[in-house]
Symmetry: none
Subunit: 223 residues, 2 copies
DNA sequence: AAAGATAAGCTTAAATAAACCTTAAAAAGG
DNA sequence: CCTTTTTAAGGTTTATTTAAGCTTATCTTT
């Protein structure tokens, strides 16, 4: 499995090369976006890991460039903060996943494994469960009763639930992954958004709802 | 859940012990790397939190040492801010995650949860004994007679029993591990929950019940 | 060895506390 | 402005704890 890594911090670059190598990937690494584009358009990689902030060309632009050139390989974006804008930008421009720094190496490996497993981009841009689908690019939730646009937070809640439909996700986990560790919002905001998501699911007559397991968290169920 | 904390700054050490204790971990704390190695090789911990800069032996060396000794427990490394080299060394040497100081306590707890979750939920999300299984993610107990959801406390009682089916667990141990060291609830609450667990086991027609050994504690038996 | 006495454990119902829901309105941000 | 997000408050439901009366095993005494 061949990976291209684009990361300008020398130490992190070196370390990630070591990690990937240790896990039986063959890695080429570059230190800026232009190099990344060159390698990706000319070489044959199974996956790319791109930092956002890089000299000469940022990761998002690099990604857009190679997508325009017809490259469909799975791409994982590294962002410095949990900047929603970066994230949306990344997904719009055809990223398959993103990871905010700092991250656990195991998580990086898991995500790389996940996106290389599908190996087709765009196909997985929609999530499906029950009779409804959620578009990752447009935030549109559609079901027999029509379609409705979700707001950012609503989308992230439902995305997390739909990408692991049998898992139980605790309000604290939502808080951590969506609002971030340093958020000082009350946990109650999760409850509010669960209500909103339920309303929108009902509005499009989805046969799916968000079930709460008191003391454990939320999970999706088909009614 | 047992944690070993190695941190040489006295105030931070004390504060973290307090935080972990409050969150129902049992913590042992040490102040240098050599002690950390001793405790970790001889004791039985579920997780370790190691500072990098410590007297006698640094955290990275301690980590490498225990990994060489075959310890696979999840380890989180604490590094002073922006010491990238330390961070990298940590990842190379087998750390599961790292956190740069200063950090938010919430984030520390979240990361410890994350790396220990792999331990419990990741591989072995279900417990089995006799003809019944208990799902760690949904708190669902299932057996030939159907399935039923356990509450938090019920789940923890049964989880402890099922993860060591032949062991006898005293009411005091339940109290300590589930309600916490500083709980001022009466021990009688354990009797109450044992009753509830028995009822639910019967409800799903499990061939398992909670046997009490007077003066000793409880254990599971197959009827 | 039988009769109480004592303590350990059992069960239930009611009271309390915590988790969760919903709505409306205020605040933040484009 | 208009939309999204957060806060706040009151309401509902469910989990947890308390408390009290109960059973059963073990121990004491005769």
């Amino acid at each position: 499995m061949r990976i291209l890594l684009a990361e300008d911090e020398p130490e992190l670059n070196r370390a990630l090369v070591a990690v990937f190598t240790k896990n039986n990937y063959s890695v080429d690494s570059v230190f800026d976006g232009e190099e990344a584009v060159t390698y990706l358009t000319e070489g044959d990689y199974d996956c790319a890991v791109l930092d956002v902030m890089m000299p000469k060309m940022d990761g998002i632009t690099a990604l857009k460039t190679i997508r325009k050139a017809g490259k469909t390989l799975p791409v994982l974006i590294l962002t410095a903060k949990s900047e929603i804008d970066d994230r949306i930008l990344g997904l719009d421009s055809g990223a398959d996943d993103y990871l905010t720094k700092p991250f656990a190496v195991k998580e990086l490996l898991a995500r790389v494994r996940a996106i290389t497993r599908r190996l087709t981009v765009g196909v997985d841009a929609n999530l499906t469960y029950g009779n409804c689908t959620l578009s990752r690019s447009s935030y549109l939730l559609s079901a027999p009763g029509g379609e409705v646009r979700l707001t950012n937070k609503e989308f992230q809640i439902l995305e997390m639930l739909m990408s692991a439909p049998s898992q139980v996700i605790s309000p604290e986990t939502f808080m951590e992954k969506i609002w971030g560790f340093d958020s000082d919002s009350d946990i109650g905001v999760v409850w509010v958004y669960v209500t909103y998501v339920r309303k929108k699911l009902a509005q499009v007559k989805a046969n799916v709802n968000v079930k709460s397991l008191r003391g454990a968290g939320y999970t999706l169920e088909i009614v």
